[in-house]
Symmetry: C2
Subunit: 351 residues, 2 copies
Amino acid sequence: MKKSGSHPITLADVASTAGVGIATASRAVNGGTNVSPRTLKRVQAAIRQLGYLPNHAARILKGGRTKTVGLLMPSIADSFFASCAEAAGEIARLHDSLLIVAVSNNDRDTEMGNLAALMRHRPDGLLIVPSDCAAKHLVSFVRSSAVPIVTFDRPILGSGCPSVLTDNFEAARTATVHLLEHGYKRILCLGGEPDLFTIRERLRGYRHVMESAKLPLLIDTTLSGNANSAVSTLARHLAGRRPPDAIFTLKNSATIVAFQALQRLKVSIPSDVALLGFDDFELASTLRPAISVVQQPLENVGRKAAELLFAQLDRTPGSAPSSKLSIEPVVFANRLVLRRSCGCKMRAGSL
Amino acid sequence: MKKSGSHPITLADVASTAGVGIATASRAVNGGTNVSPRTLKRVQAAIRQLGYLPNHAARILKGGRTKTVGLLMPSIADSFFASCAEAAGEIARLHDSLLIVAVSNNDRDTEMGNLAALMRHRPDGLLIVPSDCAAKHLVSFVRSSAVPIVTFDRPILGSGCPSVLTDNFEAARTATVHLLEHGYKRILCLGGEPDLFTIRERLRGYRHVMESAKLPLLIDTTLSGNANSAVSTLARHLAGRRPPDAIFTLKNSATIVAFQALQRLKVSIPSDVALLGFDDFELASTLRPAISVVQQPLENVGRKAAELLFAQLDRTPGSAPSSKLSIEPVVFANRLVLRRSCGCKMRAGSL
DNA sequence: CTGTTAGCGCCTTCAT
DNA sequence: ATGAAGGCGCTAACAG
């Protein structure tokens, strides 16, 4: 109907076939204020007939919103971030906006490169999961950037940028305390990427508890995603003179590879060594034993971040600057989900 | 540096602070052909100093590419689609483009609504996982749309639109045959959403084999995502006079809820009933027993779809129309990954 | 209520 | 090698 040969339909086309002026057509398109019902109908008919689609670029050029929000995060495929993204996307749709997605792979250069690419599209706002929460490149970007930014999962330290986090420190504390209450004394804290903000916070929580209890710090943050390397890492720890009696894994993937390694080493959970992980995952309750975890309210994080961003966007520039959003991060509490791997529910009859 | 008060930097600003004409500045920005080295340098300095960023909207308005690709799929959070999206995104970056993401929830209205929103951003091309492969609304959209479209995972029948699929029929056939070879005779085919193209193809494969073998068709496509409903569904089947001796699940989530239900019903796999699922998932090999599955080459699908799309985009309009891309869908083969749940490797020593 | 007009920032002839 | 000028499609002032 409108594809072949024909040049793209413009407002002018609509106006002429409707027999009205361009401005009138424009008004008709945008809600139709100050347009007589009859003309409105005529214009709408022309629009349908021609298959007219407003040219977004032209509107933007005029100075309006682009109705897009840039989303920059480590990975789309990671279920954690995918959940946040989905939730954020829903909020965006509610505000008639779309998400432009870019990934950082937790790599600084990739991050800055893709951020630049993002910015060319002039998003109205930015949702960022910073790869490095202290890196000056991001700080200075945020400082000089005119677009509102909200970070989630991790902050950009010293940027004055609103962020939505979960209480990693407190959750790690609670988790470690729980392990202690089970009577474990040698708790191995296991994970990778020790430079990430979230990991550091969790480590801090673990440390805090262990030091208060005057128990030895057993920390190994050399874990890679590789299952085989986890086997040798764990074999080494388990073969020591004083092996750990419990393992606290610092994230999702660490929990999984640790579980797999333990399984392969035929180490029984929790009788030989207990396991408690940060981050829930779909099959955590289906594995045997079911894995106890710290559960983060993912959807809430993504949703809240998006809401915060749109709150800034929708606030008309004229409003009182006193109502400036608090710079204090929004922090969600985490939940300790107790299943079997930590030693809980041992008495319970079934699995 | 550039945030406060100051209006956004334009090419004119660059030109004036560099002391050159706008046109020259423009040339300098775009590769710098026909610009003396000295002026080039001056302009570049001005660009850096001012923090100039080309206004994408203006470029688009001039008729250029938007350097964006629309991605419309059922869900971002679904690991299957997330993997495809990530792969597609990488290809897009290689072509200096970004992904604009919209979701359909497999719902026709949501799909068309979000598609319309997508189109306003004038993407150079579209990557679509159609919710309904036969729905006329999409067909007519594709027909009338001027932007290149590639679908993946599912086709849009009768649209002449290139698509990237996996061989669902053949894989389901192979899987069912494998079950037969184990000696199972009463194979229950279990899943939900029987209207989806992929599900139908898999059902067709199952049917084909069972009918050839003159074995009874046991099909239940009423499964929802809910674990509890799966328990009652399976309990019912298992309690029948002639219960199934094997279950072939039609997708990822069905496999998981079936496994969970079986586990809760204390039905032993594979001795009481064997299990084989369509779609691999992260912990399939970690569950006990490890689940045998049909594995789809997800990344390949996403990547290939994006490549096909850019092949169309990069093909300059002038080139011979004879080289028009084949309308035959690209079909990837699937792999049957045999683990324990189907009864394989029972003799093997360990787990 | 409606039409006319002036740009938004950029690229691209066309002169110089 | 460079500058001036027009127009991409749209909206917001301003006239009528």
